[in-house]
């Protein structure tokens, strides 16, 4: 009898523990309405696609929750996935309207405007007449340049530093009661008050196309944009992870516009048009008092007789000077060493 009672107690306690665990577990997965993480939480989840490429299907929840899309549910970007196993999963369409309500217009949020901007930019797949450009597949889609960026919050309450200011959060809590909202709002705003990527990272993204020799040749682009940028002080500093140095976008995007509105350097409205370049040099954080002549500085130099003849001959002169100076001296140095060793051997024999 006693044994039965004990078993009842044990069953009761264990049931309570399981319910508590499930409750906690359900709380943690509340954002995952479709319970997608049931499978996608496993780091090894992957498959080989039709092209033989490995597709990693793992979602790191804590990383995702710190990304700019943390509030978008899985179904927001993958509305076509209805059953397990999934069938005919379509590519993510960034132009979809998602469930988030854009607060200023109170309409469903979408990146549709970006598509409009992009269609008028140098990166559009269609030309001015609305016809497809040559090699449309070379022009970038959203995901060619964008991943799901993480928040990069800034604190500038007393000093500017990366991270969140607890003092500011304290102020927010006076009126706003939900910590999750405060945290997201803070991140949303401060992440956008500075560059979300480092100049090196931006250059790497542009390099995916602009350093591809075949693509550069196909489109008749004049320079290898990123490796030439890397040879300037801007590029060298970017390579050492300077955040304050100008990257591709600072000079190629018209001031006050979005990267999606980038224009060709042949377009007189573009900031990279020869007469407009100085405007980007003179940005308040760069060279505000610079003379118009500063823009003549070749920010994409290449060691190439056709593209940068003056730089080519100047560099060649220094190569010859270096070789012409050091090679004879190196010759004397080695002959001297040889003669010394020979003399020492001779002395040792004597």
């Amino acid at each position: 009898m006693r044994c039965k009672k004990l078993l009842k107690y044990a069953a009761g306690i264990s049931a309570f523990v399981w319910v508590a665990v499930l409750f906690i577990f359900c709380e943690a997965r509340a954002a995952d309405i479709g319970n997608c993480l049931l499978c996608h939480k496993y780091p090894g989840l992957s498959r080989i696609d039709e092209n033989g490429d490995l597709k990693l299907l793992f979602i790191n929840e804590s990383v995702f929750n710190n990304s700019v899309h943390a509030n978008v549910k899985c179904e927001g970007c993958h509305p076509d996935i209805k059953k397990i196993p999934h069938e005919n999963v379509r590519k993510v369409d960034c132009m979809l309207e998602c469930h988030i309500i854009e607060p200023s217009s109170e309409k469903k949020f979408s990146h549709k405007d970006v598509e409009t901007f992009l269609s008028r930019s140098v990166h559009s797949k269609i030309d001015k007449e609305g016809k497809p450009k040559k090699y449309p597949e070379d022009y970038p889609d959203c995901k060619d340049c964008h991943d799901n960026p993480l928040y990069r919050p800034l604190s500038f309450f007393k000093k500017v530093r990366p991270g969140i200011s607890e003092i500011v959060l304290g102020r927010c809590r006076v009126c706003h009661k939900k910590d999750e909202f405060i945290f997201r709002f803070y991140n949303h705003i401060t992440t956008r008050l500075h560059a979300i990527r480092s100049p090196k990272n931006i250059a790497e993204v542009c390099a995916k196309c602009h350093e591809d020799p075949a693509l550069v040749a196909r489109h008749g682009l004049s320079r290898k944009a990123v490796s030439s940028y890397a040879e300037t002080f801007h590029g060298k500093a970017a390579n050492y992870l300077s955040e304050g140095i100008p990257d591709c976008l600072n000079c190629h995007v018209n001031i006050g516009e979005s990267v999606h509105q980038m224009l060709s350097h042949k377009n007189p409205e573009s900031i990279t048009f020869k007469d407009n370049k100085i405007k980007s040099c003179r940005m308040i954080d760069c060279h505000p008092h610079a003379s118009a002549k500063l823009a003549k500085y070749d920010v994409h130099p290449e060691f190439d007789k056709e593209k940068s003849p003056m730089e080519y001959y100047f560099t060649a002169f220094f190569l010859i000077l270096t070789g012409g100076t050091l090679l004879p001296l190196a010759g004397i140095m080695f002959l001297d060493l040889g003669r010394r060793l020979f003399s020492r051997k001779k002395e040792d024999k004597e």
Binding site: S291, K296, M310, T322
Partner: protein, 281 residues
């Protein structure tokens, strides 16, 4: 105040004054600033390499290393200015003042005085280079008999003048690019970067291979020459490198009976009635 003896005798060994305290301090400042400039500059030239990233990180990275580079550059430029003043003052005291006492110092007299300076390259240097090549190719066993400053030392001394002017001026243009391009065309920045970077590489290779080989790594001085610290050179090295000047100083200081034979001659031999500029016939 310490007196600079031309020949110091210590424990029966003779040591010959090569550099005064002032000159040694100038050299130490020059050497340390150049090393700092190379360390903080070369990682930018070779920015894609692993060693450059590591080295630059150790030197404070992009936020600190450029500041160190500029501070060192300013010190070096000030040193260059000081050295020009030092040269001018010494030349005035040692050459112009006596010329004034003997009459008006004309342009020809001053030019001759400049060319007479032991650091100025002359025809003997060309003869010494040719003689050295003969020696190195085993065509003779006689080494050239060096003067106060050998052609190698003159080369080492003259190189920084070219280097400081080229690297310094291009560095100033890049540092003050806004002001520079108010006066000069914008293309000057591109050329300044090439000059600064390529000339610096030439200077660094020249110093760390050629200069360091001659003063630290050659078998005569390995592992380190000490004259840049003590200011004095041993008799052995004086004979090997500056025999002509050695004979001159020994005679002048009253040690003519203790003059050692020239390099490559093993038997004790004191030169007698040697001709000027060629102590051993």
């Amino acid at each position: 105040m310490a007196q600079n003896y031309i020949i110091k005798v210590k424990d029966g060994k003779k040591y010959f004054l090569r550099f005064t305290v002032n000159q040694r301090l100038q050299h130490i400042i020059l050497a340390s600033t150049v090393i700092i400039l190379v360390l903080t500059g070369m990682p930018l030239k070779f920015h894609g390499t692993l060693w450059a990233s590591y080295l630059y990180e150790q030197l404070g990275g992009i936020s600190l290393a450029p500041i160190i580079h500029r501070v060192a550059a300013v010190i070096l430029l000030l040193l260059g200015g000081y050295h020009l003043g030092y040269l001018t003052y010494n030349f005035y005291v040692e050459e112009i003042v006596p010329l004034r006492k003997n009459g008006k110092p004309g342009l020809i007299a001053i030019t001759k005085a400049v060319l007479r300076q032991p650091i100025i390259p002359n025809l003997k240097d060309i003869r010494d280079i040719l003689d050295l090549l003969k020696y190195l190719f085993f065509l003779t066993d006689k080494k050239p008999l060096g003067a106060k400053y050998t052609w190698k030392e003159k080369f080492d001394y003259m190189a920084p003048f070219w280097g400081i002017v080229m690297i310094g001026s291009s560095g100033i243009v890049m540092w003050g690019q806004d002001l520079a391009t108010k006066i000069l065309p914008g293309e000057i920045i591109s050329f300044a970067l090439i000059v600064h970077s390529d000339e610096a590489l030439l200077a660094a290779l020249f110093l760390f291979f050629w200069h360091w080989y001659n003063v630290h790594f050659s078998t005569s001085v390995f592992p380190m020459g000490t004259v840049f610290l003590t200011g004095y050179l041993t008799e052995e090295l004086m004979v090997e490198e500056h025999y002509e000047y050695y004979v001159e100083v020994m005679t002048k200081e009253g040690f003519e009976n203790e003059i050692l034979p020239p390099p490559g001659v093993s038997a004790p031999h004191a030169p007698e009635n040697h001709e000027e500029g060629s102590p051993i016939s």
